[in-house]
Symmetry: D3
Subunit: 338 residues, 6 copies
């Protein structure tokens, strides 16, 4: 209704985009949020080939779909992280290079700058603004519990590192007129409201930086995901619709996860297909209406217990039944209209 419902393609990167788009149409979506991995959206190609963005857009448009966002979660992660072997598996070879941490971080930063430039080119092809969303990484995530005692200075240093690395990137976003939305998430510089505020403060509040709102990373932690929208209303640059379950009773592995896998019955929480978790999307829609958010509702589908095609279809239906157009005026008045 009110807003396009898109599918984030990141969990489908094993499929070529063209094949995926046919499924997306069949599932009932209005468009896609393109992952910058797999063959979905290739930043290097977009830099090299002046027709790349136009061709991608033609392919999408031909299916009757739209696009408003591209996603750079994997490369973005490497910008601030303490790099180790885990990163090799999520980065393109040319960014991993020889794996020296500072080199990886710098190459990742350059790639995110190019992602802004590519977004601008895609925007020109599509004819409206394209936003970039993704991760930032963090040099201080491992200090998540304060023992041995963590000093305020150590935390401050982490935010300064973040600012030092991202300000030059955001300069390119400003040049291109593109906005960056961090998906607030564990392992990132921001993972709740308090740390999101610290991140905004570290950047001096510059407007190129905002958020890819995703409630699934807040609910199980005990973070007020509706308050997030109200507090950062003018920085909600994109929205992920993703559900998460947490148990009404305590379990064998809690929020920290017990070093066990998603889908294990001993866990306190797990991602779930939309409508089968605990997130109260009704309040989210009302809060998004209250801040005037008009962008896509992008389904990031993840459920370790369900067939993904079954899930992607039901999730689309769920979001379309939930979303609604805000009222034109207040209602009480109407009662007495004559």
């Amino acid at each position: 209704m009110a807003r396009p419902v898109t599918l984030f393609t990141g969990q489908w990167a094993d499929l070529p985009l063209e094949q995926l788009l046919d499924k997306v149409v069949e599932f009932g979506y209005d468009g896609v949020e393109l992952a910058c991995w797999g063959d979905h959206f290739d930043v290097s190609e977009a830099m090299k080939d002046p027709n790349y963005c136009k061709n991608r857009w033609e392919m999408i448009k031909k299916k009757g779909l739209g696009v408003w966002t591209i996603s750079t979660h994997l490369v973005g992660q490497a910008v601030c992280d303490n790099i180790d072997l885990r990163h090799k598996s999520i980065l393109p070879p040319q960014i991993w290079g020889n794996g020296d941490p500072e080199g990886v971080r710098k190459r990742a930063a350059e790639e995110v700058k190019n992602t802004a430039r590519a977004a601008k080119r895609l925007a020109e092809a599509v004819g409206h603004e394209i936003r970039v969303v993704g991760f930032t990484g963090s040099s201080i995530w491992h200090l998540v519990y304060s023992f041995p005692p963590v000093t305020p200075e150590m935390i401050d240093a982490g935010y300064k590192d973040f600012a030092d690395r991202w300000n030059p990137i955001l300069d390119v976003f400003d040049e291109e007129g593109v906005k960056y939305g961090l998906e607030v998430h564990p392992t990132e510089i921001a993972f709740d409201i308090a740390s999101a505020q610290s991140a905004v403060d570290a950047l001096g509040g510059r407007k190129a930086f905002g958020f890819n709102y995703d409630p699934s990373h807040f609910g199980y932690q005990g973070v007020d995901y509706v308050e997030f929208i109200k507090k950062f209303g003018d920085r909600i640059y994109h929205v992920h619709m993703k559900d998460v379950y947490w148990s009404p009773v305590p379990k064998q592995a809690g929020v920290f996860g017990g070093h066990i896998s998603f889908g294990d019955f001993r866990r306190y929480w797990d991602f779930r297909s939309l409508g089968r978790g605990n997130i109260d999307f009704e309040e989210i829609i009302r809060a998004l209406n209250s801040i005037g958010y008009q962008g896509p509702l992008s389904v990031e589908w993840e459920d370790s217990g369900m067939d993904r095609e079954h899930g992607a279809a039901e999730a689309c239906e769920f979001v379309k039944a939930l979303d609604f157009t805000p009222a034109a005026g207040a209602f009480d008045a109407a009662f007495a209209r004559e």
Copy 2:
């Protein structure tokens, strides 16, 4: 009643033991759990001076108090940790040395072995078993959220490192006939039921290794702290009575803590004086009765909002009102006794 109520001296290490013991008596406790820092219990002295343990015990006995446990949280932490500057502030200079990580870990391991030896000496002075409790550190705590994707092999390597470092230590415990109780806690090799099981498995289930049960680290995570007692009934080597509050509604900083300090109103959870948090101690007492635990109930008092002397006194009263002697026989039968 049923069990001695002791005060863990770790949070009072700024006071000399003798001065603290007078307060302990005044607060109403039956004894102390001695921290191996401050001047409370000095492992090096216990190794050097054959009268040290006897003298400590005389001082305690003279006040009418008892002792059943010594605690090596700070040094134990360094055995498996990825060492950084935070550890300097919690370690004695001779263990920190020049701060080279592997050297620190090895010196810490030797100190924990000596702690077992010292516990044996103290036991001889006191005339009953003395247990050692504390931390272990962990080389994999920073992998607490699985992104970038963490492989099972990375987790397994962490448990293997733990076993490699602690098995030689536990050999000394076995030689001395002393038991080690890990306080299951974030930043340690075990922080919930699932990871505690993994730790036990990594050591092949050897009996020198068990737990210093402390519900305050489980409740806010969503871990079933009563189930912990039933599952590890024969490895509950010591018990901390410590309370924790978590909010009935979501907050700005969740379980991961938002990189903000204890006592900040934006937090979802915080430690609290006993009886003022959410832990259901009634169920804990009944579970401890069911496994036949007869050791001390040791108050680890921590509440960033309350004067500690006020708190230590009310906590002692709280535990004494709560604890009770189990029944001799079942009760229904009695109804019809004639």
Copy 3:
């Protein structure tokens, strides 16, 4: 299924009836509850023009819709109220007149009598009973919190005033064989179960007076809206299906509303589109079945955050999925039928 689902036209009085009826059909409803304002149902015309009711009915019937109820909330309100300028905006000019309070109340009372007469005429055109529902006003609503201390005599006087003003009106209802259903609601003589009982008692239990049941005014107050049905089973003359939300956590403005508008995020409660609030309609349907209520389920749609056309359509679908035919016999028996 079991019962017709109607739309109350009061919130749509800005649209001419004919235009509205087309929408009503499109939304999926079985009929309408006609507001006696806008051009929906004009009591004066019904009194003057002998064909008015027949013409209205023809218009409705032609669309394939039904009608069982007409509503006089606005004029009814003026019968007992302490009149002030607010009433001018909800009353027709001829009833407001010069605005002298007692004159307004008397003219309103005469109009409600005529509404009974008009209902009878409409019933003759339609071929089945038509009920009148609406408000009563109250001279004691402003005494809602008992400070400065309110005496029982002051309350009794309010109920006596109510009886004195409504008994003559109800005499006309009895003459015409029409029933009046008060919508129990804040600002009326009855706003919960206790005050509804007092209102019934004040009228000596006469049967012309009953209720237009609407759970949305009870739930947020903490009033047992299912109990209401069981207690007043033989006086449930009509049913409004209207949902309301109240917060699981306290807010800045509570039940009394903080003198702020509907739709403000600081409020504890707000009306919502059916199925998006807290009312448990399942229990309501079962209770209505238990008292044998066979009349319409009339959607009074109000949600200050949603486009009303979107809402009216989803509300109709919601009620139709919810409602069901009662069982013919008990079920356990069937198991063993042979």
Copy 4:
């Protein structure tokens, strides 16, 4: 999707099977669970007439339906029960005979043996395994509250009686290669997890005996119906989808039922049409997926307040929307697939 959705015909035994099958098709089901009463499935005929099973199957297949299970609740009940006049109304005349308790029990046992034989014949006609589900009765149900004091010996005697009577029956099931699923239920030898374990133990864990899982008998009692699946994962031989409501607040008649009928508003609990009670079917589906259950989801429809045809149709739709195919692999991995 993943599993066939069937209707248990026990509550429809007043209708001839052929007539019922047409309704079953119309309601949307994939098949039936055949009651061994009414004319639905006649064990005596199946023993006598070599074409009976083939004919039944032809009738079912012609409607496009399937069958996986036959049900012997009524006769099975008589095997262990203390027989009284209530049993006369649920048993065929030839099994009731002259009503002498031990004779009734023996004749019922023989009939259940024949039911295994008949299941085998039906399986041959259909071409896949047919399971038998039903009740067992119990000689100790009346000892449900331990006053006057019940001794462990009295309980043990009840389980021994159960084993003595059912082992010979299960020998026939083993001979025929058929499995028996007890519907764990009040009045049976097993009515919760603890008594189900006792029943399994009494039979030495033989595999011919398992369960017809039905959550509706557990939820209102306070029994963990999801844990049941995990604990008895390899003995879940069949699944009933049946919902039950229990009140969030205390009532006039509690779990023991106050000797009043289903459907009485004073009751704490009652069976309800699927989706209108309290059972969390989402967790059930996930638990069934985790144990690899591939059999039918059989709707046992019972709701004393609703028309059964309305209910059977909505229940089928509910189960089909709920059920889903499990995931092929874990999901986190997919995020980084390239």
Copy 5:
């Protein structure tokens, strides 16, 4: 304060009364409720020895204690029960006799008549009314779940049997001016509000019959124990203070108890020392105040996990801290008193 706090001696019948009374004083009670078993109160002696009651009273008075009630739970149970071997263990030999069921029931009935007579004699010695409380048994308890289908006639027959057996007993109570209070309890003719109403109705509402209110038998069943007081306000002849725990989460054995013992961790519910269960005694005290109950609050102490002497003392303290004198007048008025 407002009411005497007594200890019910039934669970202490292994101790001679004199020895028990010393403990009762030490625990802090104001008096005792005397069990008619052990040597506490012997009905036969009271009938034979004209000084028996006087002597008992002297013994109690000398300790500074009071008595208001005698209890005949064990013999009362046999009046309506289907007698089996369990009853032998709870009955005196002269009542059990040869164990023929009807003979046992008749002898039990005679003994309850004598209990009324003995109560009258004790009342004369003490100088105020003495009430008798206890059980009634039931011929229909085993029909607690309606399968095989139970007919209304079977239930009616059970209540008629109750009336036939108890009316002659209550005639003696009326002659002696003594009241009988049934402890509403599973296995009795009444076990919740609905069945209590049926019992009152079966006796035509005669006033000799009322209730020994005990919330512990209601809470875990889901029965509204505060409503019980309001509904039967004029029949609350005595009050037991007894607590019960039921789990916030489902367990392996539910309300029906899984044929396992009290104290087993798998149970959903268990009796607990006062203040350690779930009963909301605050609401009970307010309800008792509202009906003007002035009798004793009698602690029936039962907790299978706690030493009974520890428990009896803490229970007395709990009740004394809880109970309070009602207000003389309403409070709002006072605010403005001048």
Copy 6:
């Protein structure tokens, strides 16, 4: 401990102050909050008699008590109210005069000015600051539910009236250096957080005006009483400790009270003796500590079901057990202190 615990004398105005003070000592309080009615504190006398304040203070001091606050709820109420006969019963004759509304309001305003002057005189006698707390009345309370529709202009007019009447009064408070604390309460210009903010805004934020914080008026309404403290931390001029109960389940009369009396069982909410209601005082104490509130905790005792002397004593004990001294420093640090 940390703060004096006082008793507000308003509910005891039927007793002469001297007699009351003896009780206050016996109940265990540290001081009193003096009502400006009864003979407790007479503003006229304080204006006339230069020794009055000194004498009052001598009387209080002699009992070993303190005083920090005087209360003008009754006269304050008349300043903005729409005056009717209810006010006659709460006002001194000289302020009621002939009862003409505007005259009453003006005389009340003058009396509140004198109360500031009297507070200053009492402060000089006592030797520390004395604050005035009380009500303000409201000309718009009767508009509490917005039907007939209330316009923003009507609400604004109410706040303007409040400012016009209270600014001149507050000028006197400023002259005298005394602060006024409004008890936010239904029937006042402020009754929740939203309306309290409006009141502060209406006065331009002048510091002479703040709040007498009382959680009992917020909790049952659904207003966040802990948030109130944080939001208005620098305007919490005084604190009432008063408890209120609200039902976990809906009732016959909701928050609006059904025009029935306090103490009626049909009500959803009622005031209760401290510790017997629903207010979470633990969070209040922590919030008061966080804003550095050092003033008295003043018990306003009200419970329509309890004897007031019983209640006043238990309330004092409750508050003293609850209150605590804040921590000097954060606690985590202490763990590692050496």
